[in-house]
């Protein structure tokens, strides 16, 4: 990965100079926070119906969230890469 071109005196962290909170980063944060809200709100899924393939809701819903949170983390990862590329690119100009 290319090194961020910076003056030797300043640390090579682009976050320091640009705004820390951007719309893109807000989306990333949302992707990462969503599983916490969903999983810690146990009351929203502590029920048996509707069952799926004979499995009570409580169980298949949480298993579904394994997939959902994976997808969300993947989105966060892709967006973060884009964020970092944009910043490194921006710093070079």
């Amino acid at each position: 990965m290319p090194e961020a071109p910076n003056a030797p005196s300043s640390p090579s962290s682009p976050e320091v100079r640009e705004p820390v909170v951007t719309p893109l980063r807000a989306v990333i944060a949302l992707c990462l926070v969503a599983p916490f809200v969903a999983m810690l709100w146990v009351g929203s899924y502590a029920k048996a119906d509707p069952a799926f393939l004979g499995m009570p809701f409580f169980y298949w819903y949480q298993m579904l969230w394994v997939l959902l949170s994976t997808a969300l983390t993947m989105v966060a990862y892709k967006l973060w890469q884009r964020d970092q590329r944009a910043r490194r690119g921006g710093a070079g100009k």
């Binding site: 009570p56 409580f58 949480q62 983390t73």
Partner: protein, 542 residues
């Protein structure tokens, strides 16, 4: 339980065991670097692992044999409450996505091998680093012991555990052999051995789970039947407590417990030294981030595995020791040869984490006790030698623990270990994002969390135990029942924040921070990531 030794299963088990033993010893030649006598080589596999090796290693490390035995056992015993392991592992990945890459970067810049190395460098406090190291070692020891308990469960079901009246030496001989082999190849190959064996372990586990989740429900008449039978079983009144055995869906009163256990455990998981060892062995920052998106595959497997607990009930498995429920289910349902494969999966599943845990504990001792307090001028070769020896000692300690004490002692300590290790979170994760906290405040917060957590856990009684009967107690001020570890953690944070204000007001010395903001975002290939490694580990620069 069938009588006698299950010969076919045992033969298959021994076959796989021998195969991984050979792999374990050959592993030392895998990707060997020029300088093998450094802690980076032995203890971190040369920091060279890519995405897939890291995936197998972390998966093999975090989802241990004990997990495979204990999670379905908890479901078997009480139903829904045991399923918290699933939301727990769901929450782990978004969480580590945020802080693990920073830890990787700063550790590479400064050649940190353990979390305590980072804590010392960031906060300029050997005391705080010692506290983190001791907590890590204390929390890891019972965890290793539980891996041996996992192997024992499998051996018991295969009939090689011996009966009540066999001589103790004959009874424990298989465990001693398994253990001796593990110790020998960890000693000679370091982290490379579990990394290589993890491939076998995870492949076996995935095959067994895939087969179990399809084959067993077909034999038992589908999930409808399984859950109906389980529901009936949970409704039965337990004479010891006068309450139903469990529930298929958590009642309102236990939802706080469920959520706090999931959150607290998720926060704690990557405080464990063995998680960090596997993380730091990866080649680049990207490997870590990418892994947070593929590791959840294991969570899916864990969820499926948990369902085996219901199947054990539906299949009419009756065991007094819940730990034996799943091995017994395999023995009852599978043909002998496949039961052998399943047992091998659990057995090898114990070896991988046990190896990594002993390496991690040994690294902590070497770097943060031996080098910081006993022999500051230790050479890399000396460090490696000490680490190798300590990895042996740690394993012997775990073995003695398992053989001499009741299993419940290991489980109690493991429970305490989880509470304890969570108390290192503010110093570690806090330190990755801010230098605002005061080092003495962190130390005080840690101490308060440790004392509160231990005292609260001591006070929990269960029908079978007067103390350490569980990990949940009433949360002071809220009145709901919640995970003690999380309550202690909140208390720890409050103390840390308040004391930081006080210590800053009185201008207490803050200590020297040897890290720079840029260190936390550096990646492999960036200037300084390998060249700036201090002399102790410079030999391993690739």
């Amino acid at each position: 339980m069938k009588d006698g030794v299950n010969g076919v299963a045992l033969a298959v088990f021994i076959f796989f065991f021998l195969a991984v033993t050979v792999m374990g010893f050959l592993a030392s030649r895998w990707r060997r670097a020029e300088n093998e006598h450094s802690l980076d080589e032995w203890g971190l596999g040369g920091r060279s692992f890519g995405t897939w090796v890291t995936w197998f290693l972390l998966g093999g490390d975090l989802y241990t044999a004990y997990t495979f035995v204990a999670v379905p056992a908890a479901i078997y015993a009480a139903g829904a409450a045991g399923f918290f392991a699933v939301p727990y592992t769901i929450l782990v990945y978004p969480l580590i996505f945020t802080f693990l890459p920073r830890l990787w970067s700063v550790s590479h810049r400064h050649g940190y091998v353990t979390t305590s190395d980072f804590v010392r460098g960031r906060w300029g406090s050997k005391g705080l680093s010692l506290a983190v190291a001791l907590t890590g070692i204390l929390a890891t020891m019972p965890y290793i012991a539980l891996q041996l308990v996992g192997i024992q469960a499998v051996l018991d079901v295969m009939g090689v555990g011996g009966g009540e009246n066999t001589n103790w030496f004959i009874k424990d001989l298989p465990l001693l052999i398994a253990f001796g082999v593990l110790a020998a190849y960890t000693y000679s190959s370091g982290l490379r051995a579990p990394a290589l064996i993890a491939f076998v372990k995870d492949t076996l586990i995935y095959i067994v789970i895939a087969v179990a989740i399809i084959y067993i429900p077909i034999k038992l008449g589908g999930f409808d039947d399984i859950f109906a039978k389980a529901s009936d079983a949970y409704a039965q009144i337990n004479p010891a407590t006068d309450k139903p055995r469990g529930a298929l869906v958590p009642a309102e009163a236990s939802q706080w417990t469920y959520a706090t256990l999931a959150l607290g455990s998720a926060l704690a998981l990557f405080m464990y030294p063995h998680s960090i060892t596997a993380t730091l062995s990866s080649r680049s920052r990207e490997v870590i981030r990418r892994n947070t998106t593929i590791l959840p595959l294991y969570s899916l497997m864990l969820g499926l595995l948990a369902l085996l607990g219901f199947m054990a009930i539906a299949a009419g498995v009756k065991v007094t020791n819940g730990q034996l429920a799943i091995p017994q289910l395999f023995e009852n349902m599978f043909p002998d040869w496949f039961a052998g494969v399943a047992f091998a999966a659990i057995g090898i599943g114990a070896l991988v984490p046990a190896a990594i845990m002993s390496i991690a504990a040994a690294n902590l001792f070497t770097r943060n006790i031996y080098k910081d307090f006993i022999k500051p001028d230790a050479t890399p070769a000396q460090e490696t030698r000490v680490s190798k020896l300590v990895s042996l000692l740690v394993k012997v300690g775990a073995l003695v623990f398992v053989l001499t004490m009741d299993k419940t002692v290991a489980i109690n300590f493991q429970l305490l270990g989880g509470i304890w290790i969570l108390q290192t979170f503010p110093a570690l994760v806090g330190g990755l994002f801010t230098r605002w906290f005061h080092r003495w405040a962190l130390l005080a917060g840690w101490a308060v969390g440790m004392v509160y957590g231990t005292a609260a856990a001591y006070g929990v009684a269960s029908p079978t135990q007067k103390h350490f009967g569980g990990s949940s107690a009433e949360i002071p001020g809220i009145g709901e029942i919640g995970y003690i570890g999380l309550t202690a953690f909140v208390l720890n944070l409050v103390v840390t924040v308040v004391l930081t204000f006080v210590l800053k007001a009185v201008k207490a010395p803050e200590g020297i921070d040897e890290t720079k903001p840029g260190d936390y975002t550096a990646d492999a290939g960036d200037a300084g990531v390998s060249v700036e490694l201090p002399p102790a580990t410079a030999g391993s620069a690739h």
